[in-house]
Amino acid sequence: MNALGIIFSDMQDWNMTELASHRSVAAIPFGGRYRLVDFTLSNMVNSGIDKMCIITKSNYRSLMEHVGSGKDWDLSRKKGGILIFPPYALGENHGLFQGRLDALKRVLDYISSSKEKYVIMSDCDMLYNINYKDVIRYHEEKNSDITAVYTTANLNRSNSIHKILYEFDSSKRADDILVYPITSGVHNVGLNTWVMNKDFLESIIYDAIARNYKDFSIDVLAKKVHSLRIYGYEYTGYFAHIDSLQSYYDNSLGLLNMENQQRLFYSQTGPIYTKTKDSAPTKYCRDANVKNSLLASGCIIEGAVENSIIFRGVTIGKNAVVKNSIIMQHGVIEEGARLDSIITDTYARVTRDRVLLGYSNCPFFIKKYSVI
């Protein structure tokens, strides 16, 4: 397809201190066998986009390791394919970028030298399943400068603060845009996904360089809502915004609902691709007792698991009980240990007979490599 993908790995990571302390938001494990970036990459690939880049901010090692050459997404190509941009200093722009426009300034050469007509920009903290072809068709029809993908959602004061909200006139043209407001009720919530003509994006970046603009949502969307033709494309499928540990926990366990699985994993758009690991199938022993859970491959289950998400290569020992919990890759829950409402990061070990309790609105987080 005639479009270039630009993916931001960490545009909004303020509130993700636990999960993103040593990795980029894009590399946060999700749904048993994925990383958040897989959903964005798969949307792009399933829409026929075969040239894209990921703009990273910091702690990008695990993301680099995960994406590699891109071959698991069919993105290891002679023409196009995927590029990862680590933080990039340019002239006076030392240090980390400050905002989306600042980040785009630093990859201007890549954008300018691309031949594609359209650009699709997307973050990694919003999970949804979309065919960008439809968005681009809509973008053409509306003759927009910027087409913003949005969905309607019921917000509360604690989760509205990480979102961009749109108000549209009857033709779906934006007439007001609120950036990170504190509000509640049903709103048009931006999915932080925008389609633009590539030439238009370049003109915005040049303008930003001249005026020292740094923030796309404030300096372009909000300030120019009346002078630019910004249109909304409504998305109505599965949607999750991972903007805090609590939303990570809720949306993870939300996948135990078979309808949500259907909408996220088995949509018409295509499968969710991820890095292939070649683990053996999961082994359930004689005394295993697993209920209402999602499990990846390579696990050995001897104990009880209920309402939980179990990632690749996890071992659950005899008489261990894991409830309402998320056990990331290579976690070991030893014999007789009991966990309720716990998130263990990768390679954590809960030793014999330990008891760990969180609560559904206060899940307890265990760091990578911890031994309890």
């Binding site: 699985q261 499968p271 199938p281 209920k291 859970s293 990846a296 491959s297 050995i300």
Partner: protein, 384 residues
């Protein structure tokens, strides 16, 4: 195109029909028969090669190669998409004034001498694509070098009562082979050939040419080439392998090899000796609130709403509510609709079993294994 020299080239015999597997090999060659939840049999020799540091492999195909060819693709699933070497499929082909099918295992190599010669190797490792085992071939090649052998044959100890099903070797204290009999009525030892041979390439070439001129030869390694080399007094050694090794040539042995993955006695698929395979992208497996999974292995993308015991469940299988699956092998993308009961069966890929049916007989009644061929639909009144 000039290829870089390789010390050892692997020739993997994958043309076998596997007729004793009945309906399971009607549409595909034996090496592509699914096994162990997410693998095909050929994944084992291929992964063994890659893990042993062997990266130049010719796969000899003949019978029903479509699924095998598309499965192997460019070999990237086994890390065999290489600039130099890698994996290449070698079907029989036509030459000036001559074209023939592979008439035997040795003939398949004979017809592909040019393929091997382009790498100018010292050794050729000949493998068959129908066994389940984990083996480090580099140790066998090392043994072959230490003995300055012309040919080394890998052997495994089998029970006396089964010995007459195999090629049986006798050897002296040093391991030098003194006698070889193909499927003997009265075996003189219990050392069975595993169909894994290391040859010095120049020596093998010589004997392939001699054998090809013999009109009485069946062009088979076990029946013709090995006895010929032995009678000529070449230095032939047996290399003892200890570990799990299973010939999955029959329905019963295929079922048993799958069951060997349950419990702790048989083959362990986890660990550092990774068995690679090609698979389509699937979400994690989902086990519902009302289901029960005991002593089984389950692969990605399976959705289990019923009960599963002593079974191997492949990728993308859907087991609906109140279904009971026992002592069975359920291959990829099978759907078993509600209230059906499956006992002691092998259900091949993409079968649909409608609701309220009984398939198979419980294992304690000592019946034959029920096999449902791929892509069929089982309804009241029969299989379609």
């Amino acid at each position: 195109m000039k290829s870089a020299k390789k010390e050892c080239v692997v020739m993997l015999l994958a043309g076998g029909q596997g007729s004793r597997l009945g309906a399971l090999t009607k549409k595909l060659a034996k090496p592509s028969v699914p096994y162990g939840g997410k693998y095909r049999i050929i994944d084992f020799p291929l992964s063994n090669c890659v893990n042993s540091g062997l990266d130049t492999i010719g796969v000899l195909t003949q019978y029903q190669p479509l699924i095998l060819n598309s499965y192997i693709g460019d070999g990237k699933s086994w890390d065999l998409d290489r600039m130099n070497g890698g994996i290449q499929i070698l079907p029989p082909y036509q030459r000036v004034g001559d074209s023939e099918w592979y008439s035997g295992t040795a003939n398949a190599i004979y017809q592909n001498m040019d393929f091997i010669d382009q790498y100018n190797p010292e050794y050729v490792l000949v493998l068959s694509g129908d066994h389940i085992y984990k083996m480090d071939y580099s140790l066998m090649i090392k043994f072959h070098k230490e003995k300055s052998a012309d040919c080394t044959i890998s052997v495994i100890d089998v029970p006396v009562r089964e010995a007459s099903r195999f090629g049986i070797l006798s050897s002296d204290d040093e391991g030098r082979i003194t006698d070889f009999e193909e499927k003997p009525k009265k075996p003189r030892s219990t050392k069975a050939s595993m169909g894994i041979y290391v040859f010095n390439w120049n020596k093998l070439k010589e004997y392939l040419k001699i054998d090809n001129k013999n009109p009485k030869s069946t062009r088979d390694f076990g029946k013709d080439v090995i006895p010929l080399m032995l009678s000529a007094g070449e230095k032939m050694y047996s290399y003892e392998f200890k570990g799990y090794w299973k010939d999955v040539g029959t329905i019963d042995s295929l079922w048993q090899a799958n069951m060997d993955l349950l419990g702790n006695s048989g083959l362990d698929l986890s660990g550092d000796w990774v068995i690679y395979s090609r698979h389509t992208e699937r979400p994690p497996q989902y086990i519902s609130s009302n289901s029960s999974v005991k002593n089984s292995i389950v692969s990605e993308g399976a959705v289990i709403l019923g009960s599963v015991e002593n079974s191997v469940i492949f990728s993308g299988v859907k087991i609906e509510e109140n279904v009971v699956v026992k002592d069975s092998v359920i291959m990829a993308d099978v759907q078993i609709r509600e209230n059906s009961v499956i006992n002691y069966s092998i259900i091949d890929e993409s079968v649909i079993i409608e609701a309220n049916l009984k398939v198979g007989t419980p294992i304690d009644k000592n019946p034959d294994i029920t096999v449902i061929p791929r892509e069929s639909i089982v309804r009241t009144g029969g299989v379609k």
